[in-house]
């Protein structure tokens, strides 16, 4: 383990802003994409009578 405390971990040696914005944006994009695809799927699944499945 690299860190002695949570605040040290969050500070990332002074680079906390850059590191956490990067990881946060990545998480946001990945989760957002999953949500969008799910919503898209729901939209198609609702809309039709005889689906492929």
């Amino acid at each position: 383990m690299q860190w002695n405390s949570l605040s040290e971990f969050l500070a990332m040696g002074g680079y906390g802003f850059y590191v956490w914005v990067s990881f946060g944006a990545t998480a946001l994009c990945l989760i957002g994409e999953v949500v969008l695809v799910r919503r898209r799927h729901a939209a198609v699944a609702d809309g039709d009578g005889g689906g492929v499945s």
Binding site: G14, Y18, A25, V44
Partner: protein, 253 residues
Amino acid sequence: MSVTDINWFKYSSPQALYPLAGKLTPWFSALAVILMGAGLYIGLLLAPTDFQQGDSYRIIFVHVPAAWMSMFLYVVMALWAAIGLGLKARPSYMMAQAIAPTGAMFTFLALLTGSLWGKPTWGTWWVWDARLTSELILFFLYLGVMLLRTSIDDARRADRASAVFALVGVVNVPIIYFSVQWWNTLHQGASVSATAAPKMAAMMLLAMLIMSLGFWMYSIAVILARLRCVIREREERSSVAGQVERPVAVGGV
């Protein structure tokens, strides 16, 4: 140029693809979650601080995998496009269509995290060096592929035109890679190469590779899920007889 031109026999294939994609998605999703969890654990908690860059280097655990995926997915998309053009196979066009938004998203992430890494490392958000610029071109190429598809109403032509453009753009991907050697400016040389590998601590390399694998599994999962949407949407559209096909909404970025 209407729906009736579609070769209905090819439809048997997407029909088989739909449940298969549905079955595979949860497995790849689980793999993605496990790998990314492990990668984050090693990368953020175990990997040592870099003696030159401090902890800002930890951005590579998302930046490099995103950049790799952005290029890899483009090549895969072009491959499906080529197969589509060669075999006139509709499912491969659907794959290409499903890949594009995820590839564009990873390109965007690579640019964003690269910029966030550049600020503390080089003191500037953006440098016009070869790799960043090529990544930007790649982003435009993804947008081009997607917009060309949405602009053409006829699904058949949209498939084939965007496939041709994807293939034209793939000439750009090797340029992206070799451009580093052509005019290497502020950007450090490729961090991971046969010669440079010993520079990175084994733990860092491990975290990066696991994260890359995680992103890869994530891509497969989300692309298969989107493939199901695409199959469904197209089937729905063509089931309305006589109706001209509407542009496909390329959501999901």
